[in-house]
């Protein structure tokens, strides 16, 4: 695998702390596609918006992670919208020699330096670049109805993200189409999930999640590509559907859905038992 090692995996805080299933499915899927990936030792928070909301020093954190990747000579693979956005914005900011000099003064104390060489790509971007291989690898076409929710910060600002369309991205549609699954159009695929509202105003966040889930009702599963989306739309469904548990909808991470279509076993992808039952498959098959 080292011969095609291209990326260092950047989980971000939320996936590292609470969503090992997303990391697992990402690693299993990329391994199946022959895309080399290694962990990023000593990675930190990406800086935005958690630190950016308080200080311009967020850029030191983002640049620190870029420096770790650069030292390894690898590009960064992200799986959340906010980390992708933060690291891409920092990489752009580092083009300014004054910013770069200031950042490197800070990083020097840690024995690091950064030029901004390491590219930052969200999993969706990497998968789109390998969709021919992905298409060839589908061995277990899915007979599922799938609703989608796009991770907004992966695509915006458009001139920073430089991937897909900033207002009407289509990459998730294209990837799911490869699996044989039927896509259920919800009309709110491109709307922000609202998960970041949860720490400021819980009722507002829950109504945002409810709106998206209600629009997805004709689907067997909702598929996301971001830890923040997943946190609100999957982990908070108990609160969203308080008193209406029958409305709960299974939610998968994109690499879980794609991994299933590649014939990987559900438990290898961290897919929960309710979806396994929908698929009519054994968890170990």
């Amino acid at each position: 695998m080292t011969s095609n090692l291209r990326f260092v995996f950047y989980p971000g805080c939320l996936v590292l702390q609470r969503m090992p299933q997303y990391e697992l499915a990402t690693k299993r899927l990329l391994a199946a596609l022959g895309i080399g990936l290694q962990d990023m030792p000593q990675a930190s928070c990406c800086g935005a918006p958690v630190v950016e909301s308080f200080s311009d020093e967020w850029v030191y954190l983002a640049a620190y992670n870029l420096a770790l990747a650069e030292r390894l000579g690898l590009d960064v693979l992200t799986v959340c919208g906010s980390c992708t956005n933060s690291l891409k914005r920092a990489r752009l900011a580092l083009r300014d020699p004054e910013v770069r000099e200031d950042v490197n003064r800070r990083l020097a104390a840690l024995g690091l330096s950064v030029e901004g060489r390491a590219e930052v790509k969200h999993l969706l971007q990497v998968l789109m670049e390998h969709r021919a291989a992905l298409k060839e690898s589908v061995t277990a076409p899915l007979r599922l109805k799938v609703a989608l929710t796009y991770p907004c910060q992966v695509f915006r600002p458009g001139d920073v993200a430089a991937f897909d369309d900033p207002l009407q991205p289509q990459s998730m549609h294209e990837l799911v189409a490869l699996t044989g699954a039927e896509i259920v159009e919800t009309g709110v695929e491109h709307e922000c999930c609202g998960s970041t509202l949860y720490t400021s105003n819980q009722p507002l966040a829950l109504s945002a999640g409810r709106r998206k889930l209600e629009a997805s009702r004709g689907a067997d599963v909702l598929v996301d590509s971001c830890g923040n989306c997943h946190w609100l739309l999957e982990r908070m469904q108990r609160a969203i559907w308080a008193g209406e548990p029958h409305k709960r909808l299974p939610v998968l991470f994109m690499p879980q859905l794609l991994g299933l279509a590649l014939g990987l076993a559900p438990d290898e992808l961290g897919v929960n038992s309710r979806v396994v039952a929908l698929l009519g498959r054994d968890a170990h098959d």
């Binding site: 030792p41 958690v50 800070r106 922000c192 970041t196 507002l204």
Partner: protein, 120 residues
């Protein structure tokens, strides 16, 4: 920057928080007087559609620094200063990782965090 804002209100029309009844900085930009920049979802849609190219994300981040921060946000910030992550992530994480078939990860040290963010 914000001086270029013509108060056309397009940002408010597309804002997901505004659609749900929240009043964010986009209300300020289009002439509102009750708002909180902490209700911004950071989806950056407002910025993408702004006909004047206002860096609304930057405006919102500046506004957040003027407003009192909600407790959960402040706790996340303090977690970063202490642990290097928005959550109190410690070596214990590796037991959970192991249970999911993931290799242990080496975390950033408190000293590294201090060297990075010692001015905060």
């Amino acid at each position: 920057m914000i001086e270029n804002c013509t108060h056309c209100g397009l940002c408010r029309e597309v804002c997901p928080a505004e659609k749900l009844g929240g009043r964010t900085i986009t209300s300020l930009l289009s002439g509102g007087d009750e708002y909180s920049a902490w209700l911004c979802c950071c989806c950056q849609l407002c910025q993408e559609v702004c006909p004047e190219g206002v860096d609304i994300h930057q405006v919102m981040m500046c506004e957040r620094r003027r407003e009192p921060a909600p407790d959960p946000h402040r706790r996340s910030f303090e977690n970063v200063l202490r642990y290097g992550y928005a959550f109190p992530i410690t070596e214990d994480i590796n037991a959970m990782r192991s249970a999911h078939g993931l290799d242990p990860v080496e975390l950033i040290s408190a000293e590294q965090v201090r060297l990075l963010l010692h001015c905060l």
